[in-house]
């Protein structure tokens, strides 16, 4: 009984985790499903590898993936650079208007995506951009909502960094640029990488804001949404499974690599 009470919180936690994986299980399972009709349904009809070998068969699927990658990589680079600069400003420098800055950076995270997307669309239309909606406008929107998340992530890393290290570097004949390059940046890198990964996944998966600002262009989430009318090709679930496994591999791989590099030495 005591054993249970001690561990009840952990058990509940694990149950919650399992709960979050249930739809993933379905997605992976459904990727092997041969639907009887055009559209993938919830019923498991027959097992097949065919979906995996004909990923680009549905019209526009692979084009939407290409666009998603292009958009997300661009947006990630921009958001990470801008957000990292801001994080440095907030952590390492004191200036007036700090409170207001914090608020302005926080608001996009808390604003419902409908409002973000709607206001951007209204603006683009208002300045006459409505025929030019596409790659550029999608990237602009994505950078917008990724920016805040990048700032939060990088800031968390910077706050934990000892400022004395930079002083030590300068004491050891490194000028400001060398200090940044050889001490500050390498140490902040895990946070920057984490921020970039976060920005990429937020951007790649985004639907609502993209729906407002994409015009005629179709990213992968838009393709999925659009399939509702035409019927869901089972290849969608293949892509979903691939996305899951790939990201899992990246994160787990990164963690293993990190552990390898800082392997503690046995005490003498």
């Amino acid at each position: 009984m005591r054993w249970l009470a001690d561990r009840i919180v952990l058990l509940v936690g694990i149950l919650v985790l399992v709960y979050t994986f249930v739809p993933i299980g379905y997605i992976i399972a459904l990727s092997f499903n041969q639907p009887s009709g055009r559209s993938a349904t919830a019923d498991f009809e027959s097992f097949t590898w065919r979906n995996w070998s004909t990923i680009c068969e549905p019209d526009g699927l692979c084009e939407s993936l290409k666009l998603s990658f292009a958009v997300s990589i661009t947006a990630t680079v921009l958001a990470t650079v801008l957000g990292t600069l801001m994080a440095f400003a907030l952590v390492r420098h004191s200036f007036r208007g700090r409170s207001a800055s914090n608020l302005v950076i926080f608001l996009p995270m808390a604003t419902p995506e409908v409002v973000l997307g709607a206001s951007l669309l209204a603006m683009f239309v208002g300045v006459g951009f409505d025929s030019a909606l596409g790659f550029t406008t999608i990237v602009i929107a994505h950078v917008l909502f990724c920016l805040s998340f990048v700032v939060v992530t990088v800031k968390a890393r910077l706050v934990g960094m000892d400022a004395r290290l930079e002083e030590a570097a300068m004491d050891l004949y490194a000028n400001e640029w060398q200090t940044f390059r050889r001490v500050t940046l390498p140490m902040a890198m895990p946070g920057i990488v984490a921020a970039a990964l976060l920005a990429f996944s937020l951007s790649f998966d985004d639907f609502i804001v993209t729906n407002f600002t994409a015009g005629q262009s179709v990213t992968f989430p838009l393709f999925v949404y659009g399939s509702k009318l035409k019927g869901f090709p089972p290849q969608l679930f293949v892509i979903g499974s691939v996305m899951f496994v790939a990201s899992l591999l990246i994160v787990v791989g990164g963690e293993l690599w990190r552990r390898r590099r800082t392997r503690p030495v046995l005490a003498r």
Binding site: V9, L103, L107, V114, I208
Partner: protein, 282 residues
């Protein structure tokens, strides 16, 4: 201005410019759009009419949608808290070597497409699916009852999709709690629950508040869950705004609804900031 300050501004400006140009400015523009004369149209253009009456008619038409949205989002937030808190607590204090692995596992499901996940739930909760069958067998559902296309499904979907937004801030604030405080509480209070109630939970309140803000607000504006898991009977304010913008192209109406939603968001955030300042926000 000292070099330190000047450099600080220089680093801040590019990002701030982006936010100002693509967030602040459009939001303000949205406000003006909401005041356009509704008699115009997207094609013909709108006249600025300072039509504050747009707001009145908007609210009269949709107050039930707002109410429903906040209700669904509220329930979902409470559920997220109920599910996310034990999870965050387990990771922060009970996971030992597996802490990082568990953190990854919290976010991992959200590496797949949000739409696909929600569609997956539609499959799981469908009439011929196992869950519905299970509840019917238990007698909790009549034989022709449905789980899908009900408020329950929509709320379940919202809860599922916004769970990490609650769990991660909770974890961040619980992680900062010194475990020795909890041990000391165990030493002083007769039951672990009292110790939790009097020591741990109060210390985790910043995380609870942050998680609530980051869950409730986006959830109330969501429309995908309602659309994929529900019927027009469950539609939320987000569905209405999307329809108004993209289908009807009734910009003044759409804008006024957005502004109202945004205003409510601002009120909640400023209420929080008044109490706790802005340093914990970002």
């Amino acid at each position: 201005m000292s070099t330190q300050r000047r450099r600080g501004w220089l680093l801040l400006v590019p990002g701030m410019l982006w936010l100002a140009l693509f967030f602040l400015f459009p939001t303000v523009q949205l406000f003006f759009t909401s005041l356009y004369d509704p008699d115009g149209s997207f094609i013909a253009g709108y006249e600025m009419g300072w039509e504050f009456g747009n707001y009145v008619s908007a609210i009269a038409d949709t107050w039930n949608l707002f109410a429903r949205s906040f209700l669904y989002a509220g329930i979902a937030t409470v559920l997220c808290l109920a599910l996310g808190y034990p999870l965050a607590y387990a990771i922060a204090f009970k996971s030992g070597r597996w802490k990082n692995v568990m953190l990854v596992l919290v976010i991992a499901p959200f590496f797949t497409s949000f739409l696909l996940r929600t569609l997956s739930w539609a499959a799981i909760l469908s009439d011929r699916g196992p869950v519905t069958g299970f509840f019917q067998t238990l007698g909790l559902l009549p034989d022709d009852g449905r789980l899908l296309a009900t408020p329950l499904a929509v709320i379940a979907g919202l809860t599922y999709n916004f769970l990490p937004f609650m769990t991660l801030p909770l974890y961040a604030s619980l992680e900062k709690v010194d475990f020795r405080l909890i041990e000391a509480a165990g030493d002083l209070y007769s039951s672990p629950f009292t110790g939790f109630r009097k020591v741990t939970f109060p210390l985790s309140v910043p995380g609870v508040v942050a998680g609530t803000l980051l869950t409730f607000i986006p959830a109330s504006g969501d429309y995908i869950n309602a659309e994929l898991l529900g019927t027009p009977q469950q539609y939320m304010i987000g569905n209405r705004i999307q329809a108004a913008f993209l289908t009807e192209q009734n910009y003044p109406l759409a804008a006024s609804l957005s502004v109202i939603l945004m205003a409510i968001v601002l009120v909640m955030v400023i209420g929080y900031v008044r109490r706790a300042g802005t340093e914990e926000l970002v």
